[in-house]
C-alpha cells in the first residue's frame, strides 16, 4: 500500500474509533473514554496532514484540486478546529459528532479518488494554493458551528417542555434525579453553547470572506472577470449572506440562542450545497472545463 493511502486508512480508523469513544463519553462521561478519543482525533488529524504532504511529495501535484483532496482537507481542518475549541474551552463532549461527520466526509472523498492527474490549465495557478485551503477551512469552522448548534437545539427542545428540566439544563438549580436531566445538565448551559457557536461562526465568516475574495482574484486572472455569477461562487455568496444574517441576528439579545442556532444549521446546509451540491448537480466554470 503506498504511503499516502496508508495514512488515509490510519486517519479513517482513528476517526471512527475516536468518534465511538467520544460519543460514548458524551453519554456516560467516563473520563478514560475521553482520554482515548482525543488522542485518536489528534492522531487522525496528523495522519491526514501527513497524507496531503506525502501526496504532494510523491506526485508533485497540488493535492487539493479535486474533491478527494479538498474533502480530505475539510475533514482534517474540521477536526483541527474542533481540537482547538476542545482544548481552549474544554468541550470534549462534542468530539464524537465532529469526528463522525469528518469520517463520513473523508470516506466520501475517498470514493472520488481517481489517481494522480495533472491539473487543467485553469487550476495551474498559485491562487489554487491560497484560495482552496481558505475556503475549505471556512467550511470546517461552519461544520464545528453546526455541531454545537445541533447540540444547542437538542438541549433547548429537550428542556423547553419541562420547566424543571429547563432550569436544570440552564445550569440553575440541582438536577431532579432523572438520567436525561443529569445528562443534559452535564452539557454547558444554553448561553455558553450559543457563545461557542458564535465563536465558530466568527472564525468561519472572515475565512469565507477571504475565500470569496481570493476566489474573485483568481477568477480575474483565469477567466477575465472577478465575478461571473458562476453557480459555485454564487452559492458561496449565498452562504456568506446567511452567516452575515446570523451575525446581525446575534446582535439582538432576544434572538440570540435558538433562533440564531437554526440560522447556523441552515447556513451549514447551504455550505454542503455549495461544496458538494454544486459540484455534483450543477455544472459551471468551477467544473473546470474549458
Amino acid at each position: 500500500m503506498p504511503l499516502d493511502e496508508l495514512l488515509i486508512a490510519v486517519a479513517l480508523c482513528a476517526y471512527v474509533l475516536g468518534a465511538l469513544a467520544l460519543l460514548a463519553y458524551f453519554f456516560v462521561r467516563t473520563p478514560w473514554l475521553r482520554d482515548v478519543g482525543i488522542p485518536l482525533a489528534v492522531l487522525g488529524c496528523i495522519a491526514q496532514f501527513a497524507q496531503l504532504i506525502a501526496r504532494f511529495e510523491l506526485t508533485h501535484v497540488w493535492p487539493l484540486l479535486n474533491l478527494y483532496g479538498s474533502l480530505s482537507l475539510f475533514a482534517a481542518m474540521s477536526v483541527a478546529i474542533y481540537i482547538y475549541f476542545a482544548f481552549r474551552y474544554r468541550l470534549w463532549f462534542a468530539g464524537g459528532f465532529v469526528l463522525a461527520l469528518s469520517a463520513i466526509f473523508l470516506a466520501y472523498g475517498v470514493t472520488w479518488y481517481e489517481g494522480t492527474m495533472p491539473p487543467v490549465p485553469s487550476l495551474q495557478s498559485y491562487w489554487a494554493k491560497i484560495h482552496v485551503p481558505i475556503v475549505v477551512s471556512s467550511y470546517a469552522a461552519f461544520l464545528v458551528a453546526f455541531v454545537f448548534s445541533c447540540i444547542y437545539l437538542v438541549k433547548y427542545y429537550a428542556t423547553a417542555g419541562s420547566p424543571a428540566l429547563a432550569r436544570a439544563a440552564g445550569g440553575a438549580g440541582a438536577p431532579a434525579g432523572s438520567p436525561v436531566l443529569l445528562w443534559l445538565n452535564g452539557l454547558p448551559s444554553l448561553a455558553q453553547l450559543d457563545v461557542i457557536v458564535y465563536r465558530a461562526v466568527a472564525i468561519g465568516l472572515p475565512l469565507i470572506s477571504v475565500g470569496i475574495i481570493t476566489g474573485a482574484m483568481w477568477a480575474k486572472e483565469a477567466w477575465g472577470a472577478y465575478w461571473q455569477w458562476d453557480p459555485k461562487e454564487t452559492a458561496a455568496l449565498l452562504s456568506w449572506i446567511i452567516y452575515a444574517g446570523y451575525m446581525h441576528l446575534h446582535t439582538r439579545p432576544n434572538l440570540r440562542g435558538t433562533f440564531t442556532a437554526w440560522v447556523s444549521v441552515i447556513g451549514f446546509v447551504s455550505i454542503v450545497f455549495c461544496y458538494l451540491g454544486v459540484n455534483i448537480l450543477i455544472s459551471g466554470l468551477h467544473s473546470y472545463k474549458m
Binding site: E114, V120, P206, L238, H248
Partner: protein, 454 residues
C-alpha cells in the same frame, strides 16, 4: 399655511418611519433573506438560456414565471439590483442613525449586583491602598482607567478595546466600497469576446487594439484513471502580435491564468476551436469565394443554384476507425467534420465527413473538407472598479476581524469598607455583545484579582 404645516408634519412622520424601518437590524436581515433567495434562484435556475429551454425543462407556469420575472437573468434583473440598492440604503441609514451616534455608555454609578456579570472579593487592608492596587492591577493588563465620585462613592471605570466599537462601521464601509467598485464597472467598464483564426488579425471594437494570432497550441495528456481513460488538458497557449494605442506591434503570449494587459484592458485565454476550409465545386467547377472562406463551427453557406444550405456543425478531432463514429480523444489524429444539410430551413440530415473526402450536398455540388485552422477565443475586459473593490475587500475584512476578535468591555469597580480592617471589592462587567461572551474571561480576571490584590 396650515395645509403646508400639515404636509410638513406628514413628511416628518413619514421620514421618521422610514428611518426607524431602514435603521432596524431585523429589516436588514429581512433584506438579506430576499437577497439570499434571489441568489439561490440564480444558482438553481440555469441563467441566460433561450426561453424555449425553460419551457422544456420546467412546467409551463413555472417557465413562464422564470421568463416574465427575469429570473433567467436574475443577477441583472430589477429585483436583484433593487434589493442590493435597498441593502445599501438600509446600511446608510443605519450607519448614520445607529452606528455612528452609538457612544460609549456614560460613566455612572451602577447597582453592581444587578449586572449579571459581577463578583465580590473581600480583602484585609486599608481601602484607599486597595483601590490603588486594584487600579494598578487593571492598568497593568491594558485596561484604560477613569475615576469618578458619585454620591460620595469613588468608582473606578476600566475600558478595553474601546476603539473596536468602530469595527461594525469599518465592515459596513467595506461593503459600501465594494458596491461602489462594482458600480464603477457597470458605469465605465466594458467586456467582450473575440475568436481569432491562426494568421488572422482583428480590431477590438472598444479599444481599437489590433491583435494577430500568430499561433495557437494546446496540450492534452491521456491518463488512465480508475474509471477509465481521461484526456486531461494541460496547456492552452496563444502567441499573438498586439498593436496598442502607441502603434507599436509587440509579440505576446496569452495562457490561461496569464492574461495580457494592453492599454489597461486585459485579454484572457478563454476557449479554442477548429475553423474549417472546404473545397466547394459544382459539376467539377470550383467555387472560388466559398472555397477561400474559413468557416467557424455553426457557420453555414447556401448551395449555389439550390434552396439548400450546408452548416459546418462541429469538428471531430479523431474518428474511431472501427465504428466510424467520433472517438473520445480530443487530440487531432484522424479528423473529420460534421456537416448538416437543410432545404429551405428543414433539416435533411447530417454526416460525418473525414478530411479530404467528399460529400454530395445536392445540385451537383460536392463539398470536400480541405483543412482545419485552429482559432483561439479571447475575452477582454476593462474594469476601472478593480482597485476600489480591492480596497473595499480589505476594509471589510479588517472590520470583520475587529468586530469579531476585539471585544469592547467595561468594568465598574468600587471598593468599600466591609468591617474593621477589611474592604470589599465589587466589580461588574458589560460588553457590547451581551454578558455570555465575556463570562469566562471575567471569571479568570476575578480569580487573578483575588490572588494578586486580595
Amino acid at each position: 399655511m396650515t395645509q403646508a404645516v400639515q404636509r410638513q408634519g406628514v413628511l416628518l412622520m413619514w421620514y421618521a418611519d422610514f428611518v426607524r424601518t431602514f435603521g432596524n437590524v431585523l429589516f436588514a436581515v429581512s433584506l438579506f433573506l430576499v437577497w439570499g433567495a434571489l441568489t439561490l434562484i440564480g444558482v438553481i435556475v440555469e441563467q441566460g438560456q433561450d426561453a424555449a429551454l425553460y419551457f422544456q425543462a420546467y412546467p409551463a407556469p413555472l417557465a413562464r414565471a422564470i421568463v416574465r420575472l427575469g429570473l433567467d437573468n436574475v443577477y441583472h434583473s430589477p429585483w436583484y439590483v433593487g434589493i442590493v440598492g435597498l441593502i445599501l440604503l438600509s446600511l446608510g441609514v443605519c450607519t448614520f442613525k445607529r452606528v455612528i451616534p452609538a457612544r460609549l455608555p456614560p460613566l455612572r454609578a451602577v447597582a453592581i449586583d444587578k449586572i449579571p456579570l459581577h463578583a465580590e472579593i473581600e480583602a484585609p487592608g486599608e481601602c484607599e491602598t486597595l483601590r490603588r492596587k486594584v487600579a494598578d492591577f487593571f492598568a497593568s493588563r491594558g485596561w484604560q482607567l477613569r475615576e469618578r465620585t458619585f454620591g460620595g462613592v469613588e468608582w473606578t471605570f476600566a475600558d478595553k478595546h474601546n476603539w473596536a466599537r468602530r469595527g461594525v462601521l469599518v465592515a459596513h464601509a467595506g461593503f459600501v466600497i465594494i458596491a461602489a467598485g462594482t458600480t464603477l464597472f457597470w458605469a465605465r467598464g466594458f467586456s467582450g469576446e473575440t475568436a481569432i483564426l491562426t494568421g488572422q488579425t482583428v480590431d477590438v471594437p472598444q479599444t481599437h487594439a489590433r491583435i494577430r494570432l500568430d499561433d495557437f497550441a494546446y496540450r492534452i495528456t491521456p491518463i488512465m484513471t480508475k474509471s477509465g481513460m481521461v484526456y486531461q488538458p494541460v496547456d492552452y497557449v496563444s502567441h499573438v502580435t498586439v498593436t496598442g494605442r502607441d502603434g507599436v506591434a509587440r509579440k505576446m503570449t496569452v495562457r490561461v491564468n496569464h492574461p495580457i494587459d494592453v492599454d489597461g484592458t486585459l485579454y484572457y485565454q478563454a476557449s479554442y476551436g477548429f475553423g474549417a476550409q472546404f473545397t466547394v465545386s459544382r459539376n467539377g467547377v470550383r467555387d472560388a469565394p466559398l472555397s477561400q472562406r474559413t468557416f467557424l463551427e455553426g457557420d453555414s453557406f447556401d448551395v449555389p443554384g439550390t434552396t439548400r444550405a450546408v452548416v459546418y456543425e462541429r469538428f471531430v478531432p479523431t474518428v474511431d476507425r472501427a465504428s466510424g463514429a467520433p472517438a473520445a480523444d480530443p487530440r487531432v489524429n484522424d479528423p473529420a467534420v460534421v456537416l448538416g444539410v437543410s432545404d429551405t430551413g428543414a433539416s435533411l440530415g447530417e454526416a460525418l465527413v473525414p478530411l479530404r473526402t467528399w460529400i454530395d450536398v445536392g445540385g451537383e455540388t460536392r463539398v470536400v473538407p480541405r483543412r482545419y485552422v485552429l482559432y483561439s477565443g479571447f475575452q477582454y475586459r476593462y474594469d476601472p472598479g478593480v482597485p476600489l473593490v480591492g480596497i473595499g475587500a480589505f476594509v471589510l475584512l479588517s472590520g470583520l476581524v475587529i468586530a469579531f476578535y476585539f471585544l469592547p468591555a467595561r468594568l465598574y469597580v468600587r471598593v468599600d469598607a466591609a468591617g474593621p480592617g477589611r474592604c470589599r471589592i465589587g466589580a461588574a462587567a458589560t460588553t457590547v455583545k451581551g454578558y455570555d461572551v465575556f463570562e469566562s474571561q471575567f471569571a479568570r480576571l476575578m480569580v487573578s484579582l483575588n490572588t494578586e490584590v486580595a
